[in-house]
Assembly symmetry: C2
Homo-oligomer: 404 residues x 2
């Protein structure tokens, strides 16, 4: 008997123009367009295996090996049902010989290769991998943009993880959400020098969830509508042009301004929402000073910080500057664990904390070990990948393999 | 021979609708109107003695006993010269017998009764006291609003310290600034139950000065203009009405929203400006939770936080709730020095840290001693006072007395 199964992996993406606010909370339709860089799934990824089998009793998901109940009417169920519907309409109804996979329950095993404790949102890569693996299993003829419509309903920003490179989520205007999907602004290969240094910041307290936080901003901020109507559209156009032109100065300036403005409207919420803490702010001070020196010496910016709904910093930079930034962060934030030197910047002796010449060291205080729990160096990457059977996360019985 | 001398004291004011941005940096004309509560000068004040004497060589100022050079063309010189001009025009030109004080140099001694280290802006009370003492010395017939036009040119928010109670600074529209002055919204006696608990927050690093910070916001924030044009005018009207009606709920809601929005536009600046730190944010979390409990129990808010260009919290509350707030702050922020119990809330045994029933203690972590360096309990107060000769800060020679 055939095994109907597919495995896919999908990347994390980090927005430069931030998504904050829904105009439809059920369909997950945003109040503004957004734009992100897809990060390399060689480093950070979600992997998902989906199997359809007539013997399965009900749709079941295991997340990192643990049963994660699928709530009826919930976002996960919405995605699975929509993909089954497409299987029926686009495949089975057109080809009578196609197995009726849409009528079988599915077993899904999903695994993130980065710890939840890292504070990196796994819902984007997770839903993108889930949609990709089911689309492969069902042999759907859908394009990444079409699949992004489904991933969007799982987790808004997941739609952007259906592409590699530089990706826009066009907000759309239709009530049914059919024009609210992701498009590729430029592939990874257009500007492969874009690197990212992620600083995982220690956070004592749990912040406001982005789902509830963004709706509170929609309801109470006196500034959000201005951002939506008058600021974001121009920034979307400008940063797309900057990416086309590989203009890092413009890319960095817009990315930092939009991170700041996202946190500004979060603060303009009642009660106010704070995602950045004093460590996040110290990293901003370092990047501002690093750019000041760079601008003075070269006339160009060298780094762009951005913060999502948490205290972690993602610092975009071009490949040639990544070493300086890793050294800079180490200088102020001593690390407990050795830096994972994926790009072989440092050779055998490891990283030494260091600032560039002319850097005013007084812009921040050195912190204690663990203020920044980890530093991840990665770069722009490709979109979802289909993996071979040997990568399956399900065993013969259709339950999760035990991972090493 | 006569001694021409006057002494005045003036209060601190803390804005509920924040002043942030100048449309004219020389005349100090703001981009929006603002509104403040004047605090009791029995507790926090600047006192200034001015003396005019033909033997004096040049205008001289001592601030807290230390010679503070008067820069030609600077703000201090502008205020002194404008008051001399009024002396000539309004007094000497009309009454030939009036001594020609406008032709004498002045010696000015000014003293703040709160330490600079407290992080409370002393420029507002300082310029208000200076203008008040010179106006008295020169026997000017000017009203407080007229004097506020002069104080404004010393330090914008100083104009609001020319009145007690609840004070608006009308931004005005004229290019010469002649309609940009303070007016009384309501006197202290209209709503004397307004108390303030000031938390002096320890701050490791020196923040951006408000003078340079606000102009950077004017130049780079994409949100400030919306605030100025579409948010502040309605808030000014609404909070004035709330004060007239003694409606603490509306007063508190607007005060907190405007503090948040001021810090939001500071964050929306390039590079971003942060005045609040993690301790400031913890105090916000406490007040939000305290209000949540109050709303649930009584249907009303009990406290309103507000932050100026620094990490200190000012918590407005009605007299009846001041004790609970002082206890709440002590619970999370242990104090090195004994609380100055001006209103005899606690009797002999001193303050015990305590939360109200139903309060979720997990909203913040208890901090170490000195995270909040001091707690000052005060209330709404009156406007500048003229003091007797026995309060003079100048000795017979016209130099500062040594203060105990």
């Amino acid at each position: 008997m055939s095994v109907f199964q597919a495995t896919a992996s999908a990347p994390v993406n980090i927005a430069c123009i931030k998504y904050w606010g829904k105009r439809d909370t059920k369909l997950i339709l945003p109040t503004n367009s957004s734009l992100s860089v897809t990060l390399d799934q060689d480093h950070l990824r979600s992997t998902t295996t989906s199997r359809a089998d007539p013997s399965f009793k009900k749709d079941t998901l295991w997340l990192n090996g643990k049963d994660d109940p699928i709530k009826e009417g919930g976002r996960l169920a919405t995605c699975i049902n929509e993909l089954k519907r497409l299987r029926k309409v686009l495949v089975e109804d057109k080809d009578a010989s196609a197995p009726k996979l849409s009528t079988y329950a599915v077993h899904i095993a999903s695994y993130n290769n980065f710890p939840t404790a890292a504070g990196l949102a796994s819902s984007a890569s997770g839903f993108a991998a889930l949609v990709s693996s089911l689309a492969k299993l069902y042999e759907l003829p859908s394009t990444p943009s079409e699949l992004s419509l489904i991933a969007r309903q799982g987790s808004g920003s997941a739609c952007r993880s259906l592409f590699g490179g530089y990706v826009a989520w066009e907000m759309g205007t239709k009530a049914d959400g059919s024009d609210s999907y992701a498009v590729e602004v430029a592939p990874q290969s257009h500007w492969p020098e874009m690197h990212a240094v992620i600083c995982v910041v220690n956070d004592a307290k749990k912040g406001t969830s982005s789902t509830s936080g963004m709706q509170r901003t929609v309801e109470t901020s006196a500034l959000l509508q201005h951002r939506i109507k008058h600021v974001v559209p121009k920034r979307m156009a400008d940063i797309s042009a900057a990416i086309q032109a590989r203009d890092f100065d413009a890319f960095a300036q817009i990315t930092m301004a939009d991170s700041n403005q996202f946190h500004a409207v979060a603060l303009d919420t009642e009660p106010p929402i704070f995602y950045m803490n004093d460590v996040s702010k110290a990293i901003i001070a370092l990047i501002v000073e690093y750019n000041r020196v760079a601008l003075e010496k070269t006339g160009h910016l060298k780094a762009a910080y951005t913060y999502d709904a948490g205290p972690n910093a993602v610092i975009y930079t071009l490949q040639e500057n990544a070493k300086e930034i890793v050294e800079l962060i180490h200088k102020y934030f001593p690390q407990k664990e050795a830096f994972n030197d994926r790009f072989q910047l440092f050779g055998g002796e490891g990283v030494k904390g260091k600032v560039v010449e002319g850097f005013n060291e007084a812009v921040a205080q050195p912190h204690e070990v663990d203020a920044v729990k980890g530093i991840i160096h990665t770069k722009v990457g490709d979109g979802p990948r289909t993996l071979g059977a040997e990568e399956s996360l399900l065993n013969a019985e259709g339950t999760p393999k035990t991972l090493a």
